[in-house]
Amino acid sequence: MTPTIDRPTMLMLALIFTMSGAVGCTRTYRLDPVEFSQWPEYRQVDMHVHLHLSDELRGHTYEKHMLGDRFRYPVGPVLALGAAQTAEKAFTRVTVSEGGRIPTVEADGILTPDVVGMEQATSIWAFEAVDTSIDLLWTLKDPDGNTLWAKTIRGTSRHHLGNAFTHRSAARKRVSMCVEDLFHKSLVDLTTAQEILQLSGQ
């Protein structure tokens, strides 16, 4: 006997299907601190740098809207932690402050990381690799506020989107790979920039 669906059930199914498309939901991907592995080779710069982690950086959340859904990535804490670890590797002496204003400090330079933007491509295929990028602007100023060096570093990663069961772990993996790439590149640039080396007398 062929199973049949009566009209009210059919209408109900159609309604559920329509609503599932029309009602958006918010997905928040909380990120664990990135465990950096295999830092690139570098030579520490002999300099006292004051690192200021602004409220904007620490609270940064990337949001993406797609087909009525909202995807949230609170990347700020991970970026702040990565920036501190990178600065401590790059310079012999690092002091750190947080908050809205940079305090008056005695240091050779004041280093601030700022998020310029984060982007993530999209696909409707679960196993298609998509690109993720985070742009972080590093600015080094002297205590008088004059800019000595500035550079936007772009971290990138390519990883699949994940299906209904793996999208969370895939999202975390994509962002972790991107953050790791970002700070590896940052370390190389901070320790090789001519302007920074000149300032340190190296």
Binding site: G21, E119, T122, I124, W149
Partner: protein, 216 residues
């Protein structure tokens, strides 16, 4: 009843096939051509002042815009200008998007430029509300496409850099066009205000960009 079942199965198979075909053609991540290194040199739009070599190439042509960005940016009120800066001086130079302006246009943040390119999400909403899977997939494909156009715009944008003597950088800066300038062929003027480290008073550099003949 038996005939209806066979028919409905055929219809379902047809709808599923169309959906899969549309998803396949519209949903995949699009690849956009990289801008060639020599383009601005070929166009001959270069100037050398204050120890800086400035090159510019305006992507005004519709086909060229589709090739690099997947859409005609100019018809959406955005002018993409590819800029090359070479520091031939003996001082370090900080280069950032806000150092550039295009007379007659407003500098567009690349994220704002990207936002102007994608109506796909609206179409997807319509599809979902109608409950028609093929239309929803068409919308999803457009949204994905718009999203990838946005990512591509970001990827090609000029990013802040400090150029030591002898170093160079390149990338796109996006400008917002007034409505009357979207179709008109005209001469543009790119103005660059260099920011040398320790030398704040460097005069601006102006580079006239004439209409290219296929300026539409």
């Amino acid at each position: 009843m038996g005939t209806w079942n066979i028919r409905s199965k055929r219809i379902l198979i047809l709808v599923a096939s169309i959906t899969i075909a549309m998803a396949g053609t519209l949903g995949c991540a699009r690849k956009f051509a990289d801008f060639p290194m020599e383009a601005e040199a070929v166009a001959g739009l270069r100037t050398q002042e204050h120890g800086i070599a400035l090159g510019a190439h305006m992507v005004a042509d519709r086909n060229e815009s589709r090739k690099y960005f997947g859409t005609s940016l100019r018809s959406r009120g955005i002018m993409a200008v590819h800029i090359t800066v070479e520091n031939n001086s003996d001082r370090s130079l900080i280069v950032q998007q806000q150092d550039f302006s295009l007379r007659g246009a407003i500098r567009h943040h690349d994220r704002e430029a990207a936002a102007a390119t994608g109506p796909g999400t609206t179409v997807a909403w319509t599809g979902a509300v109608l409950g028609s899977l093929p239309i929803a997939m068409l919308g999803a494909g457009m949204a994905v496409s718009a999203d990838n156009i946005q990512t591509n715009l970001e990827k090609k944008a000029l990013i802040t850099d400090t150029l030591s003597p002898g170093a160079a950088t390149r990338g796109f800066v996006y400008f917002s066009l007034p409505s009357q300038a979207r179709e008109a062929a005209q001469t543009w003027e790119l103005v660059y205000q260099p920011q040398f480290i320790g030398r704040p008073d460097c005069p601006a550099i102006t580079l006239p960009i004439p209409p290219s003949g296929k300026d539409h």
